[in-house]
């Protein structure tokens, strides 16, 4: 999984370089946490030295819906991004809604893929309350996706409260990363 994601980083970086040559603005990251722009692609073999070589890259489509379909994806759901929440909140921020709109496009383009929406919390507070809050978060995401036209049968929800943090530790940064909803593929 790490290798795949690293390859993805490499591809996106390469494509981004091609598209954003001369742009001062950083492209919006769609990567998972932990892969900052400073990290090398695994393929380069050199840690800490990102390869921004001017290579020629083009997407290979699987055919079909064109712009809506993310090329080369198949059953891979790693395009579905996480959304984050404020402390003790389950309301969706504007940024979360944007992310979910993108996720909705993927789900619409892949009606055969069923997902589980997981709700998570940071480690603070009652474990039981966090189980309920995590469920609120996953339900909020599911509701919003339903309102964007995703059939409820394509989604299910589960809460893990504070039990499965993404980032260990007790800093504000770690907590912010753990207050999330994320997508897993249902089997």
């Amino acid at each position: 999984m790490k290798k795949r994601s690293a390859m993805r980083l490499f591809l996106v970086l390469a494509v981004s370089v091609l598209l954003c040559v001369g742009c001062a603005k950083k492209p919006a990251s769609t990567m998972e946490e932990g892969y900052g722009s400073g990290e090398a692609a695994a393929g380069s073999g050199e840690l800490g030295t990102p390869s921004y070589g001017a290579i020629d890259e083009s997407a290979i489509g699987e055919g079909g819906a064109g712009a809506d379909k993310i090329p080369g994806m198949g059953d891979d759901i790693s395009a579905l991004e996480r959304v984050y929440f404020e402390f003790d909140q389950y309301t969706l921020t504007a940024e979360a809604r944007d992310i979910l709109a993108r996720n909705a496009r993927f789900l619409q383009a892949n009606p055969g893929i069923k997902v589980i929406i997981e709700g998570h919390c940071d480690e603070r507070g009652s474990d039981e309350y966090n189980l309920a809050l995590g469920e609120r978060r996953s339900r909020a995401v599911q509701s919003y996706l339903t309102s964007l036209g995703i059939p409820p049968s394509q989604m299910s929800i589960i809460s893990y409260g504070e039990e499965l943090p993404l980032e260990p530790g007790s800093s504000e940064e770690a907590w912010a990363k753990n207050r999330r909803a994320e997508f897993k593929q249902a089997r």
Binding site: D127, A132, E163
Partner: protein, 430 residues
Amino acid sequence: MRFFLLCLFTLILFPLSGFGFQIEVRSPGQQAIPLAVTTFVPLEGNPPAEVIREFHEVLSGDLDFSGLFRLVDPDAFLSDAGRVGLESGQVDFDQWRILGAQALIKGGVFFNGSQVTVEARLYDVLRRRLLTGQRYSGAAGDVRTMAHAFADQVLKAMTGELGPFKAKIAFISDKTGRKELYLMDVDGHAPAQLTDHRAIVLNPDFSPRSKELIFTSYKTGNPDLYRKEIYTGREARISSRKGLNIAGRYRGDGRAVALALSQDGNSEIYLIGTGGDIHKRLTRNWGIDVDPSWNPDGDKIAFVSDRLGNPHIFVLDIFSLEERRISFGGKYNATPAWSPQGDRIAFSRLEGRTFDIYTVRPDGSDERRLTFGAGNKEHPRWSPDGRFLVYSSDESGKKAIYIMRADGSGRQRISSPGGNCLHPAWSPRW
């Protein structure tokens, strides 16, 4: 099984000649009674010194923690400490008065090669008489249990109410890499793993009537409520409804369980039977309702609700369904635990950046803060006699289990290092 070995207990109650001291244990600022605890004398069969030492250590530890006593330094003991005659007429009480002791514990140990018999006696030094005496028999490996049992008896002789030391603490530990359910003694001795779910196990609660626990587990992928018999190991899944089946708490009569279910789309508190059938839905509110805790009469529940915007403690009457808010400070109040005496509710509150433990009267008045300093102290649960609390704290860097007196004094860690230990519960007397 230890329990059946302890069936060889022979308890012979010496006549209680009236209480030497009547004390309300939980009143703050009370005087600690000077107590001398001697190392018991070998009487027959050459009992191993290790057994005698262990009994002394466990008994002294329990009584010191109780807050009732100030232990007299054993180095100061005089010749009577080693005397074999244990009848009150044979004890030289003057020696103990010289040392300032007002209470005295002496005893003797018999050994037949495999069975240990301990005779333990508590004396009133000033009145020169026996307050309570017990005889315990069992395997040498059970001497700690005997010491805990006598500590409970000493508390009963002094205050009229048995102590809680012969009990178990259930808790969750992730030292195997997964959160599983464990059991240990009240002093942290002999932790034993009870579940092997290899998923996430949470929040155990003891049955008040039988040696069983309920807890939540993600064993089958969803947070479901399980019941487990401790000695047979048998497990049954008693609530596996869609969504959450969490925070199960037995009612005092052992015949019903309050828990939080979200099958209707929102976390609400329900009353179910011990087989899992729903008896009644108790909350009906758009907010998160979770974390129930029963009063001893079984007609009220303290719980957490965020219906006012952030989590506060409420009390609900299970018959009228009337609800009343009882926490007013702070922005995050959780994990309520109603004392077995019914007069106080413990809970945790986020103040600044950390959680601390408070207690309050069931009507919301007389709030008192019990813990201070670094670390998050959460999930308080009461001992069965209401004198002590067990809770988790991460002040050492990882979550660990601590016990303290109901006024917040005497805090000490009881869980061993290795992994995070959390969600403790104090059993009824075992």
